[in-house]
């Protein structure tokens, strides 16, 4: 009972949304948009669970005398501080659409001073990681790795002024060896071929996985393969 009802729900809802696309009369065409809104509302409810979990796990660690107690307090202060500032709307109201860009809002100041710089800084560390990964991964260890290396090398070279001038002297009948030409063609042909095969594979994987979920063949998220 506890496991059967969810399976019936998945079957009905899943089938409904597969068929909806073939049914051109109301309410079907508008259904997906409406249920997406429901999904967002459910995410809102789920914040109670997630936020509660964050507070509980952090507080538990503090209580048990975790060596990082100080930092765990920082998390709690940051959390309740931002929550308070946002809900009490210090410095002025946050517009109903969620626009908080009005000057003087505390919510905006914390966003500009802490949230946005941290986010951008972590995102930009990718420039470092992309270099160290290139150093380690692009080595001609075997034939496959060599193919990877050559493709990456040509594309990297094609993005520098150096790449263009390096092969500019080649005569016309060898123009297919010029870096800009290779750059464009590698991106447009073998690269596209690889991406397309991956996309077709993904589509089949998703179709089959969805079907397994709708039919209740796969149900580990509800616990166990068999009920």
């Amino acid at each position: 009972m506890k496991k059967r009802i969810p399976l019936i729900i998945i079957f009905c809802v899943g089938t409904l949304f597969v068929l909806a696309i073939f049914l051109p009369f109301p309410p079907f065409p508008a259904m997906e948009g409406e249920v997406s809104v429901w999904f967002d509302i459910l995410k809102g409810f789920a914040f109670v669970l997630g936020g509660g979990n964050l507070i509980r796990v952090t507080a538990d660690k503090i209580r048990k005398g975790h060596p990082d107690r100080f930092y765990l307090w920082v998390t709690l202060v940051g959390f309740f501080g931002m929550l308070g500032v946002g809900l009490l709307q210090l410095g002025g109201p946050i517009a109903s659409g969620g626009d908080f860009t009005t000057e003087g809002l505390w919510f905006r100041r914390i966003y500009d001073g802490i949230f946005a710089p941290c986010m951008a800084a972590i995102f930009s560390t990718l420039a470092f990681f992309v270099s160290s990964a290139a150093y380690r991964a692009f080595r001609a260890k075997n034939r496959e790795a060599t193919v990877l290396l050559v493709a990456a090398f040509v594309i990297l070279l094609g993005r520098t002024p150096l790449g263009n001038s390096l092969t500019a002297w080649l005569p016309d009948f060898l123009s297919f060896l010029k870096i800009p030409w290779l750059f464009e063609k590698i991106l447009m042909y073998p690269n596209t071929a690889g991406q397309r095969a991956i996309l077709i594979g993904i589509a089949l994987g998703i179709i089959s996985n969805s079907l397994r979920l709708i039919l209740g063949v796969e149900r580990s998220y509800l616990g166990g393969e068999r009920s």
């Binding site: 998945i10 809802v13 998390t75 309740f80 946005a116």
Partner: protein
């Protein structure tokens, strides 16, 4: 620049440096920035969810008259009782907080998973399966008014056979030996070109991010100069 802009810039610059310090190794500064960021950002998205979804899309839809003070547009809307469904599902989800009836939350979860599977099935069938097959159907030989275009024909062949070989790599129920093995091996090569190319291509976007940050730190340093 107002005093507040200045303070915000200073804190932001300091946070940026604290985050970057992780690249050397883990340290108290990074730990501080990380923990603060986690707390602040979790609350940020919660407040956003309340403001952009819970109030306008649920509360105002069901009881528009009760929120006219903050949502003027709600004055003229009729109640949309369909939104009682997500409210109900949300309450089911919260049953997790009461262990005795926690299993009820699976009903809400089942609706979500059913919705995701159903919509994904048809969406990917259209946009990735059918559309990608369609774009791969091209002539292997290209004839122009000047005659046979050898280069273009070759490139088209690479595209078509590339897709076929790489697809062979994904076959699950055939042993990758003999002819199948050879084709799927060629498929791996195609995938490797694709991976190498898109890795190399993305580098520029990643470096741009760092340029943006270093520019920001430059402004931060300049603000010190302005003070002195």
């Amino acid at each position: 620049m107002t005093m507040w802009d200045m303070i915000v810039l200073w804190i932001g610059g300091a946070m940026t440096l604290m985050i970057f310090s992780f690249l050397y190794k883990d340290n108290p500064f990074y730990k501080f920035a990380e923990h603060l960021f986690v707390g602040v950002s979790a609350a940020f998205w919660m407040v956003k969810a309340i403001q952009t979804t819970m109030i306008p899309n649920m509360w105002a839809a069901i009881w528009p008259k009760s929120v006219t003070a903050i949502l003027h547009a709600a004055q003229h809307t009729e109640p949309n009782y369909v939104r009682l469904i997500p409210l109900g599902l949300g309450l089911l989800l919260l049953s997790r907080l009461i262990p005795r009836i926690a299993w009820l939350s699976r009903w809400a979860m089942a609706v979500l998973i059913g919705f995701t599977s159903g919509t994904y099935l048809v969406r990917y069938l259209q946009s990735d399966f059918i559309a990608q097959i369609r774009s791969t159907i091209i002539p292997l030989v290209v004839v122009t008014p000047q005659g046979l275009d050898v280069t273009q024909s070759l490139l088209n062949c690479i595209l078509v056979f590339g897709v076929l070989c790489a697809l062979m790599y994904f076959f699950f129920s055939l042993e990758h030996r003999g002819v199948v093995g050879g084709i799927s091996h060629a498929g791996i090569w195609v995938l490797m070109v694709a991976f190498g190319a898109s890795f190399g291509y993305t580098v520029m976007a990643r470096i741009s991010l760092l340029i943006g940050r270093i520019d920001y730190l430059g402004q931060w340093l300049q603000s010190f100069g302005n003070i002195l």
